[in-house]
Subunit: 208 residues, 2 copies
């Protein structure tokens, strides 16, 4: 009984390759199911067996983009690394992967960024999943004395802000020439060594 | 002899108001000098007395966007504040200003971001000027024992990366709901308390 599903998955994979080809040629403009059917030499009725709406096609494209990133996050969180190295690898491995993707085909990389930007409602679920994984690492770091005076949520939020250039692909695209792994190491170390809630009181604000 | 220049400046200012109106209505699509002349009820020949090319028109638009930010940076750098508060005010005052601009007219704000993104060669000079001001504050901070083991340039580069959401208007637009001054305070404090060159050796990398 598994055979038909496997075949379906294989065809879906081939269709997604075609979609990538369309995005590569045309940028992140809307790909329609009719167009994909034409490209695949399929009838429009047939294509609906694989993707029942344009929405579900974009969900599949997003799934393919995020799948290796989720695998990385899963592996790092499950590893025995101490929190310091865990936090570094959590971002560094995805940063390396995205840098490779960018190097291989900068135009396609940019198109995926634009596509994600246009379909934030689909992307958001993946970002929330990333926050969930990050929260697990932050909880371990807090146990070891980091992020004093901050909650897990506050820490996750601040880390996400300070690490943007290394994990937001659109920003990464703009800053790519200025980004290195050594800088990421320093950013992670700065976050671990400097981030605490008490710092807030140290900043005496000027009278406005 | 000053009179004609003053008049010229006044008309240039009015023309830039018209340009803002066009950007507001149409987004960051290219504004031509002919279109601006029409809008102003001027002959195309006359408009060239004020802007001798489309390029010089965009330079004037950029100058108008950056002028209040440069004034802020100038004031903060010249102030007697200690480096900690200086670094905070350097970013906080511009952050507040851009937040206000965004609140007043989010669509226009976004159009200016897009326009800057399309004319990076014009924007770059202003970003370099910002780096120059930041380097002056960093030099004072280093004198007071911050950023040990890092050069001024390294520190400026790292600070710029970690502060992106609070100073890059395009990113600010995307993250606006998550940005607060308290978070900026914590980011600045984290940078000042945690950033040092020696941190690099603390991160033992995993065998790849």
């Amino acid at each position: 009984m598994a055979r038909p599903n496997t075949d379906m998955d294989a065809v879906r994979g081939q269709l997604l390759d075609l979609v990538e080809g369309i995005i590569q040629r045309r940028g992140a403009t809307t790909v329609t199911l009719t167009e994909l059917a034409n490209e695949a030499g399929m009838s429009p009725a047939n294509i609906y067996r694989f993707f029942d709406s344009k929405e579900s096609l974009f969900e599949a494209v997003a799934e393919r983009w995020f799948e290796p990133k989720i695998r990385i996050m899963d592996e790092v969180v499950a590893s025995d690394l101490p929190p310091r190295e865990k936090l570094y690898e959590f971002f560094a491995r995805r940063f390396r992967l995205m840098q490779q993707n960018h190097e291989q085909d900068p135009v396609l990389f940019k198109s995926y960024c634009d596509l994600g930007h246009e379909h934030l409602e689909i992307v958001r679920g993946y970002l929330d999943l990333g926050d969930h994984y990050l929260a697990m690492i932050v909880a371990e770091a807090i146990e070891q004395g980091h992020f004093k005076g901050l909650t897990i949520d506050q820490s996750v939020s601040l880390i996400n802000l300070m690490i943007q250039p290394f994990c937001n692909p659109g920003l990464m695209f703009d800053l790519v020439e200025r980004l290195t792994e050594d800088k990421l190491k320093l950013v992670i170390a700065t976050i671990l060594d400097g981030m605490r809630g008490q710092s807030l009181s140290k900043l005496k604000l000027m009278a406005a």
